[in-house]
């Protein structure tokens, strides 16, 4: 078969599939239209918008909004019972348990030491991960925005890891960093000793930050690149005529004009960093010890994994976390409004 007739064959197959789909779609519209015309006759034109939002609102109400309200019930009740009506009211006891510390800077003196370890690990992780990631994403976006060949290809290169599932990301890196892995192979080849990356607490923390930067930076690079491309080139030309160098153009044009995009990136990255869970769950499982135990895993452990389920503690911890997230988001809205 020649290439041309192959194309023609593919095209005609494509056309007939398309035709079958549109026939099916039209039949579906016909059937549903009879039904919804009847509905419209009953509820009237004014009632129709409610019919349209209803399915979404039902799912949303049952599976998102209602659980959010229920979370308060769990947070203020105690015991190991799962069903809220069997749980005794304990007031703020769960919060008191979480917040009881002799010295807040030393998790060992806290009643719930795992909670405070998770808090400190998360703070450490958020600061370093967001910091590194924003700097690297900005550098990459600037490089991609300069006059390079094959920009589309390189843009895809940096975006590719974003598509990988957290479990896949974790396994890829676990394989590279294991004791007899690629990285230790390279290190011994260069004359260094093997490093126990997954066993040493500091290294494990370092690599959790490293692989999450690797996995997520492409997304922020894309957003920053879009922001850079929205800056009109006339501004740069004007600056050049006025004798501004590359560095001054960057400081006085690029950075200020990129600030709105930067705010979005920062807040999105912050919110996601606070919620870090699945990559680490598959990568270190929170270990070694509690070195990479983060907030969501603390909640998960208490609610699902531990033999004695502490639903109350899990719910109160998640309320505290939600409070932090809301503050972060409102912070974003405020700064953005300030700019507009």
């Amino acid at each position: 078969m020649t290439a041309q007739s192959t194309t023609r064959a593919t095209r005609s197959i494509g056309k007939s599939i398309d035709g079958a789909f549109s026939a099916l779609f039209n039949a579906l519209i016909g059937v549903t239209d009879t039904f919804f015309s009847l509905v419209q006759r009953v509820v009237g034109l004014r009632g129709m918008p409610y019919i349209f939002v209803l399915p979404n609102l039902l799912i949303f109400g049952i599976f998102i909004l209602f659980p959010m309200l229920l979370n308060f019930v769990y947070a203020f009740t105690g015991g190991i019972q799962f069903f809220p009506n069997q749980r005794p009211w304990v007031g703020t006891a769960n919060f008191e348990q979480l917040l009881t510390c002799q010295n807040f800077l030393d998790p060992n003196t806290c009643y719930q030491d795992r909670f405070w370890r998770a808090v400190y690990n998360t703070v450490f992780y958020v600061v370093f991960q967001v910091g590194f990631m924003v700097v690297i994403s900005l550098a990459t976006a600037l490089v991609l925005n300069s006059s390079i060949k094959a920009r589309g290809f390189f843009r895809s290169v940096f975006f590719y890891p974003v598509l990988l599932s957290p479990i896949v990301v974790a396994l890829i890196w676990k394989w590279i960093l294991q004791e007899n892995g690629l990285l230790n192979g390279i290190l011994t080849g260069l004359g260094f000793d093997k490093v126990p990356f997954m066993v040493d607490a500091s290294w494990a923390r370092f690599w959790v930050v490293g692989i999450s930067v690797w996995a997520f930076m492409g997304f922020y690079t894309l957003i920053l690149l879009a922001g850079l491309q929205a800056i009109p080139s006339e501004v740069y030309e004007a600056a050049q005529i006025d004798g501004a160098g590359a560095w001054r153009s960057f400081l006085n044009i690029t950075l200020p004009l990129l600030m709105p995009t930067m705010t979005v990136v920062l807040v999105l990255a912050l919110i996601r960093a606070v919620q870090i869970f699945d990559v680490v769950f598959a990568f270190t499982g929170g270990g070694p010890g509690t070195a990479t135990l983060y907030m969501v895993q603390y909640i998960y452990d208490n609610g699902f994994a531990s033999p004695t389920k502490q639903y109350g503690l899990a719910a109160s911890a998640s309320l505290l976390m939600a409070a932090v997230l809301i503050i972060l988001t409102l912070g974003q809205l405020r700064t953005r409004r300030g700019e507009v």
Binding site: I29, D33, F36, V39, L45, R46, P49, F52, V53, P55, N56, L57, I59, F60, I62, I64, L65, F66, P67, M68, F82, V143, S147, I148, K149, G152, F154, R155, S156, V157, F158, F159, Y160, P161, L164, S165, P166, I167, V168, L171, W175, N180, G181, L182, N184, G185, W214, L222, I223, A226, T261, I271, D278, F281, A282, V296, G303, F304, A315, A322
Partner: protein, 350 residues
């Protein structure tokens, strides 16, 4: 040679590459290595034999020892390059090994057995991409079941998401009705509160509905994403009201306006939401992990995690199954990469 360097160093509008260009391309080269390298390493490693997986330092490509069929032996015999006592070398097949001594034969004359110290033989190897790990992995990993569950969840959830989100977005964009602002505000405000924060009560609700250990429990709850509603609504706001009024004058019902005016005109936004939804659902881990506890309902991600958590599971199988798990999304990306990256760049901001 000079043409090659000229091609490599040519930059747009300028003849002479300066330091900035060199740094730029170095950065891009390093970036490509860092981004693709780990995945390439995973794929290469997934073809290695268990023995080679354990070798340190690791070798880049998967090698396999060559074998030869010799008459009188049931199994193919491994080939070695042997240094004989007189200093000459020969390629011979090993019959058996006793302690430090290897017994080998010349495949051409299989009757004469030569005994050599194992120090004096080197395996004959060649690069080989045999799919053994994949075949064995798929048998022990229950791959077909997990794949089916993942496909059902991804397609079902994406269709449901597109339907309910576009209906709600249509109502919120094109009608003025009491409660509209309230509904919109409540939805938007939950954007900042993720599932991970309400794990326990969500599990209770799922149990109450009876969707514990059912794929419905994975498909339905995430379908009402505020992100999707918001994205579609912003797009539908740009569709002119006159089109809707014209359709109404022609006697079209509201449902017909939705299906035949709004949906076709919202195609670009629907495409972006489709890409998002497929990506979210295929890679989703936390929700299916909570809802599903029976292994025949696991999605690929949950299955892979429990597979790597089992004791005594070999890396060679895990690596092969990881490749299988990332393959579908990689193919989709390779085909659609341009529309995916531009789509996310233009809507990710919102």
């Amino acid at each position: 040679m000079s043409t090659v360097t000229e091609f490599l160093t040519k930059t747009r509008g300028r003849r002479q590459p300066d330091l900035t260009d060199i740094i730029t391309y170095l950065y891009l080269a390093l970036g490509t290595l860092l981004m693709f390298g780990p995945v390439v390493w995973l794929v290469l490693s997934s073809f290695k034999t268990p023995a080679e997986i354990a070798t340190f330092p690791p070798r880049l490509l998967p090698y396999r020892q060559e074998t030869v069929e010799v008459e009188g032996y049931d199994e193919p015999l491994p080939l070695y390059e042997v240094t004989l006592d007189d200093g000459s070398t020969a390629v011979m097949a090993q019959v058996r090994r006793v302690g430090l001594e290897a017994q080998l034969i010349d495949p051409a004359s299989p009757d004469e057995i030569v005994k050599v110290n194992i120090e004096n033989r080197e395996p004959v190897e060649s690069v080989s991409f045999r799919p053994d790990n994949y075949i064995e992995g798929i048998q022990s990993f229950n791959f077909a079941t997990y794949l089916r569950n993942s496909v059902i969840v991804t397609i079902g959830a994406t269709l449901l998401t597109l339907l309910v989100n576009s209906m709600a977005a249509f109502a919120l964009a094109k009608y003025y009705f009491p409660g509209r602002t309230l509904i919109f505000l409540i939805m938007i405000s939950t954007l900042m509160i993720p599932l991970s924060v309400v794990l326990v009560p969500v599990f209770l609700v799922i149990t109450g509905v009876g969707w514990n250990n059912s794929l419905w429990g994975v498909i339905v709850p995430g379908a009402a994403t505020p992100t999707g509603v918001f994205l579609l609504r912003q797009y539908m706001l740009t569709i002119p009201e006159e089109l809707l009024d014209a359709a109404r004058i022609d006697g079209a019902s509201e449902w017909r306006i939705y299906t035949q005016v709004i949906l076709p005109l919202s195609r670009p936004a629907l495409a972006v939401l489709t890409i998002f939804s497929v990506m979210w659902r295929w890679n989703d881990f936390l929700w299916p992990l909570i809802v599903l506890s029976r292994s025949e309902l696991f999605t690929l991600q949950v299955g892979l995690q429990s597979f790597q958590g089992q004791l005594n599971v070999q890396w060679n199988l895990i690596l092969a199954m990881t490749v299988v798990t990332l393959l579908p999304i990689t193919i989709v990306f390779a085909v659609l990469q341009r529309s995916i990256t531009t789509g996310i760049a233009t809507t990710g901001m919102k």
